[in-house]
Symmetry: C2
Amino acid sequence: MNDKPIAKRARRSSGAMTLSDVAKLAGVAPITASRAINTPDLVSPQVLLKVQDAVLRTGYVPNRMAGGLASSRSRLIAAVVPSTVMSVFMETVESLNTSLFDAGYQLMLGQSGYSAAREEVLLESIIGRRPDGIFLAGILQPGKGRTRLLASGIPIVESWDLTPTPIDMLIGFSHSDIGREVAQYFMNKGRKRFALVRAEDERAGRRATAFINEVAQRGLAEVFVVNVGASRSIKSGREAMLRILHEAPEVDAVFCSSDLLALGVMTETKVQGIDVPERMAIMGFGDMPFMADMVPALSSVRINGGDIGRQAARFLMDRAEGRTVEPRIVDVGFSIVVRDSA
Amino acid sequence: MNDKPIAKRARRSSGAMTLSDVAKLAGVAPITASRAINTPDLVSPQVLLKVQDAVLRTGYVPNRMAGGLASSRSRLIAAVVPSTVMSVFMETVESLNTSLFDAGYQLMLGQSGYSAAREEVLLESIIGRRPDGIFLAGILQPGKGRTRLLASGIPIVESWDLTPTPIDMLIGFSHSDIGREVAQYFMNKGRKRFALVRAEDERAGRRATAFINEVAQRGLAEVFVVNVGASRSIKSGREAMLRILHEAPEVDAVFCSSDLLALGVMTETKVQGIDVPERMAIMGFGDMPFMADMVPALSSVRINGGDIGRQAARFLMDRAEGRTVEPRIVDVGFSIVVRDSA
DNA sequence: TTGAAAGCGCTAACAA
DNA sequence: TTGTTAGCGCTTTCAA
């Protein structure tokens, strides 16, 4: 359907309506049409009407690439997440997207896919779009990507963790605190022998370490750890539970690094006829929306992902619009949601 | 110092490195630097080296807004989905994103949030970015949005459904066929009395209607329908099962409009001590990644979402790069994945 | 193989 | 309140 321009002279217009077309139709200068559209208060009512009419009649949609180039403001925000399917970050992305959209910004989504090399290419291609801000699910480790980001001067929100040295802004929580508090919770409930089912993930590692240390401090037996690698599935959780049952049968409480793993652990206890929580307490991480409705309902560590997204949107837009942001580091905390399983 | 009589205006450069900076450093014209970066084959090896060196030394990242404006090619693809959390579309978005990224495109993500008004604003703001293509999760109903999209001339892929009149390209499957085949499957297994647990959703409606018609054609008792409205949760599924048990206790097979609903239905059967599948067969829709690992494993209708994303990416890029796409309508079909629950 | 010129469509800066 | 002018940073066109 798209016909190529068969012009002899070098016309390379895209063919879409432009601001000049609208201005001509309204009988004003392009800049006046621009004002009528973007800052209607600065324009007389008559002109406003004429321009609005012209916009309607032409079906004009402003070209934001041109606008962005001229104003150095793209009204684009980029978000980088490891994955988008069944990911604990999507609640944050959704609320970020909604907040942004309501304020006239758009969201570009990048997947780093848990690969550092890919992340670096991604970051470069994001910078190329000159977004007004970048949201990172996680903290960027020192390296080329971090250096480039720093050099770009683009407002950045890192998240989902705490560090004294963020690139720019940070909205997160302490993984060590989580590990410690879950261990305390279990011990206060009288649990004696613990297992950890965790994915190969740096943050999960810190929760695990804090959990293990806390248990050690109270002089209880060593924590039995199952590392399921990259596979965060229910299936891995089931296999992990099987290993626990065989290799550390006296375990009476399991802390999992994700809800899906916890669901797998719980599924396997059911299959093996083990009572939850009487014989085995189970705690997940992430509190996916439906964990409350499982039977037994899964206890989990809840992160308010929606809140992180909203705050990130505000930070980023504040900075994009020249306002200063204080504080630059926000700890949103977490909560242990106690349900049937623990 | 300034010997020119005419005062210079304030610069409004963004401050970032530009192609001219690189060109100057390399001792060539900007256009030559551009060629060295974008079409290295058209440039002599010596020039290539000098430019690459200059890029490295300046940390230059091309401004894609400027490039897009000049070339009318944004290398941006937009995707519109109703929701991003626990959504059956995310597998498609993820594969779309990956395919696109590997070919040098980027993805903008829009959420329509099941609201037509919001969708229209979204579509307009998407068009403003002049993306090289748009992916729609679903089929766009006639209206202002559809008209605008048609007028924009942007390549479009609609999906997840079939229609003889797509805006442009279409990758989908038949919801009626699904309803019919699931009914047949149940009946062939000797089931006699059916229930439908469905969300308020047009496509779920068509699956339901086809299911009901097929059952009626075989002269079996009327299908008991529970419409859970907008709430696609496990909780709704549990409540629906409760209603079925009270109001239509002879039901021996349930077809749900989503896996989450099916999971809820299955959870409630367990609570009520009802044998699955002996006494009650359950079939979901969507085949979420972990349904296979539940106990009992949930039977479901599987859509190859990854394939839809990959094909959509190819279609969109083909069109963006001036190739013609045939066929414009692709039926990717579906499969009934038989596991324990049915 | 390289370059000069002329925009792409818009807005910042300045002027009236 | 409205308009003129000059770019934003890049690529297309045309020419050498």
